[in-house]
């Protein structure tokens, strides 16, 4: 059955890819007056409904930013929770206008599956967490350790690759779900836990005593997470891409949610003027109003603010790779001009 479904999926994807659907997503969004934004069904810090039933998180904020830039209203978002299996088809079949849901940018998805990636919003990677008592400071000191890991994921493969490459004998203890793996680690069934760094941080805060656990500095895989749009609508892809770049650039230029209105009126910096529409019309390049970034930043703030609000304050996540290129990270937005 599974095989048949898989074949069906591939055939259907091929059909969609060949048809190159959905030119004119911008018109569709404007007509509907809302952005259908696919999010994950719940990843702490990225997208999850809070106690008031409002979607919060880094991914949800990027939905808001795009809605603000396109429609001038950050609340004009219809969040569509998508299961992992649905995400690609939901975009390629036009059920959602974009996704912002912790999806790793891979070659296969970008090329063969009928979707396009826009710009990376978060550089994640697989890491390790160990008990602080163990006195381990590097993943390379873990020879002979048992490691809790989720089955059937690239996580498991990455772990094996890492062990082989560094000549470490790591013994995987495999679990069906992430939660089970975490619980087993918490009960001391393994020496270490491995999954994406952002998730490790989230799980660490859930332990009774977070300081008893340590996240090791090694990142053993590349997981660049980026919003998805359907293949074949270049204008829409440009819009989502440049909203992401705009949000990142805003941090670089010191434009924040609080000072954006003031900057738009008074800043003498030509880069700021261009971005906020006080000189030139960068929004016009992608079919949006000249205040596109002014609206987006007023709604959600710059990248640093989004990160701080969703990941640092709640999960204690450091910026790490996701710092600006000037601050030792790899966040490098293309220039807006």
């Amino acid at each position: 059955m599974h095989k048949i479904m898989k074949l069906g999926t591939i055939a259907a994807t091929a059909m969609v890819a060949a048809g190159a659907v959905s030119a004119g997503t911008l018109e569709k969004v404007r007509e509907a007056g809302e952005l259908a934004c696919g999010v994950s069904e719940g990843v702490p810090g990225f997208s999850n409904p809070n106690s008031d039933g409002v979607w919060v998180g880094l991914d949800a904020d990027f939905c808001r930013a795009v809605a603000a830039a396109v429609l001038g209203d950050a609340n004009a978002v219809r969040y569509v929770p998508l299961a992992s299996k649905q995400k690609v088809l939901a975009v390629s079949s036009g059920q959602v206008d974009m996704t912002s849901r912790t999806t790793t940018w891979t070659m296969k998805r970008d090329s063969a599956e009928g979707v396009d990636f826009t710009a990376v919003v978060y550089y994640d990677g697989q890491g390790f967490m160990v008990s602080a008592e163990a006195g381990i400071n590097s993943a390379k000191e873990m020879d002979g350790a048992t490691v809790c890991v989720t089955t059937g994921t690239t996580t498991e493969l990455n772990l094996a690759d890492f062990g082989r490459a560094n000549n470490l004998s790591l013994e995987p203890v495999v679990f069906e779900g992430k939660r089970e793996a975490v619980d087993a680690y918490a009960l001391g069934r393994c020496d270490a836990l491995t999954t994406d760094m952002s998730q490790l941080a989230a799980f660490r805060t859930s332990f009774a005593d977070p300081s008893a656990h340590k996240i090791l500095p090694e990142v053993i895989s590349k997981e660049p997470l980026a919003p998805l749009v359907a293949h074949g609508d270049n204008q829409w892809k440009d819009i989502v891409t440049w909203v992401v770049y705009g949000i990142i650039t805003a941090e670089e230029l010191g434009v924040t949610q609080a000072n954006v209105a003031d900057m738009a009126a008074n800043s003498a910096d030509p880069s700021v003027q261009r971005m906020l529409g006080s000189s030139g019309d960068t929004g016009g390049f992608i079919g949006l109003s000249s205040t596109w970034m002014l609206d987006a930043i007023s709604a959600v703030g710059n990248y640093g603010e989004i990160y701080e609000r969703n990941l640092t304050e709640t999960l204690g996540l450091e910026r790490g790779l996701n710092a600006q290129w000037k601050d030792g990270g790899i966040l490098y937005a293309m220039p807006i001009r």
């Binding site: 259907a12 069904e41 702490p44 039933g53 969040y79 929770p81 998508l82 299996k85 649905q86």
Partner: protein, 366 residues
């Protein structure tokens, strides 16, 4: 009357022998009837003694009833403020909370109608019409009609969504199931084979696969202008799945009706359609009441599978709530609460099923 007449006075009844009444007799009859019973009782007592203190300790003694996440983490026991804080989203998902009165009205209507049904205050055609109207009313109330603000179906969630999926599923799939069963049992060969094909196809595929097809694959086969929203597709999938099972249950009932009844009715000149509608089907349904109620309970529990197609039903919201950054690490409480709610609803349903069996005419026959 003569004064000397002696009226027979029975001696007062003697108390039951002491080994038949009292706590000792009860213990003996129920727990220690023989060496096998005694062993089972002792094993169960041992299991209770091992688990219950820990559970009580976690749920009540060390539990936190007021406060926030930090209080909970310090106390170490169950964290009930978490459930209180999350109550609204668990009940109705990301539905706009200022409009929360609308689902609440529907819930009250549902509870009132259920109570009326259980106590047998409404019956017959009124009962059927009331239950048929309720989901439509709920649809308009929750979705927004009569000039109320429209709420998109992607915002429906929580227990509200689970109950709606199950309720609509049951109400539509029972008549559909009866029709399928009749088609399979009485229909002409073409209808019969179509019904058999439908039933066996749907029963031969796991619900997850059907949901997945309905949600992910179907939009690809439909023309691009025809957009059926995700929730409706899932609802239809659940109805069809459930109808196939209901049909098999009903067929069991049809087979239990002696052929003599149909023959007698036909011999008396009752038309074939009337014979089936008024003689066979009512009796058949009465026969299969217990498995029918069982299917309803199963359908309600099956709604929890919709999480794989991205609908945030009750269990989905439970999972979500335990992933909220302010309340990380309390998933046990969330699942205990979920188990309690599912148990409450399913147990009520099975109580009602038992009540129906007790009340029905078939009970007198036995």
């Amino acid at each position: 009357m003569d004064d000397n007449t002696i009226i027979f006075q029975p001696a007062p009844a003697r108390p039951a022998p002491s080994n038949r009444v009292g706590p000792r007799a009860w213990l003996r009859a129920n727990l220690f009837g023989g060496w096998k019973d005694t062993v089972v009782t002792l094993i169960l007592l041992a299991i209770l003694a091992l688990t219950l203190p820990g559970l009580v300790d976690w749920m009540f003694v060390r539990a936190t009833f007021f406060g926030d996440a930090d209080n909970c983490r310090q106390a170490g026991g169950a964290c009930w403020p978490f459930i209180v804080d999350k109550f609204n989203v668990l009940m109705m998902g990301v539905y706009p909370q200022e409009l929360g009165w609308r689902p609440a009205v529907c819930a009250i209507a549902l509870i009132v109608l259920a109570a009326l049904t259980y106590t047998n205050r409404v019956r017959g055609i009124v009962l059927i019409v009331a239950w048929a109207i309720l989901p439509v009313f709920a649809l308009f109330m929750i979705g927004g009609a009569f000039g109320m603000r429209e709420v998109d179906q992607s915002l429906w969630g929580g227990l509200m969504l689970s109950i709606m999926l199950a309720l609509v599923g049951v109400i539509v799939s029972i008549p559909l199931g009866v029709l399928l069963a009749l088609g399979r049992y009485y229909g002409p060969p073409v209808v019969k084979s179509l019904c058999v094909a439908f039933i066996e196809l749907l029963r031969g595929v796991p619900l997850i696969t059907i949901l997945f097809m309905a949600s992910v694959m179907m939009p690809l086969f439909l023309p691009p202008d025809l957009v059926i929203n995700n929730l409706l597709r899932i609802q239809i999938a659940m109805i069809l799945f459930s109808a196939a099972y209901m049909a098999e249950v009903v067929r069991g009932g049809l087979q239990a009706i002696p052929a003599g009844q149909t023959e007698a009715a036909l011999a008396l000149g009752v038309s074939r359609a009337r014979t089936i509608a008024f003689i066979v089907v009512p009796q058949a349904l009465r026969h299969v009441l217990p498995p029918l109620v069982g299917r309803c309970i199963a359908l309600f529990k099956d709604t929890s599978l919709v999480i794989i197609v991205g609908l945030l039903d009750f269990l989905g919201m439970i999972k979500n709530a335990s992933l909220d950054t302010t309340w990380l690490g309390f998933q046990a409480e969330a699942y205990v609460f979920a188990a309690f709610v599912y148990w409450l609803i399913c147990y009520s349903l099975s109580l009602y099923g038992r009540e129906l069996e007790r009340r029905g005419p078939s009970a007198q026959k036995r």
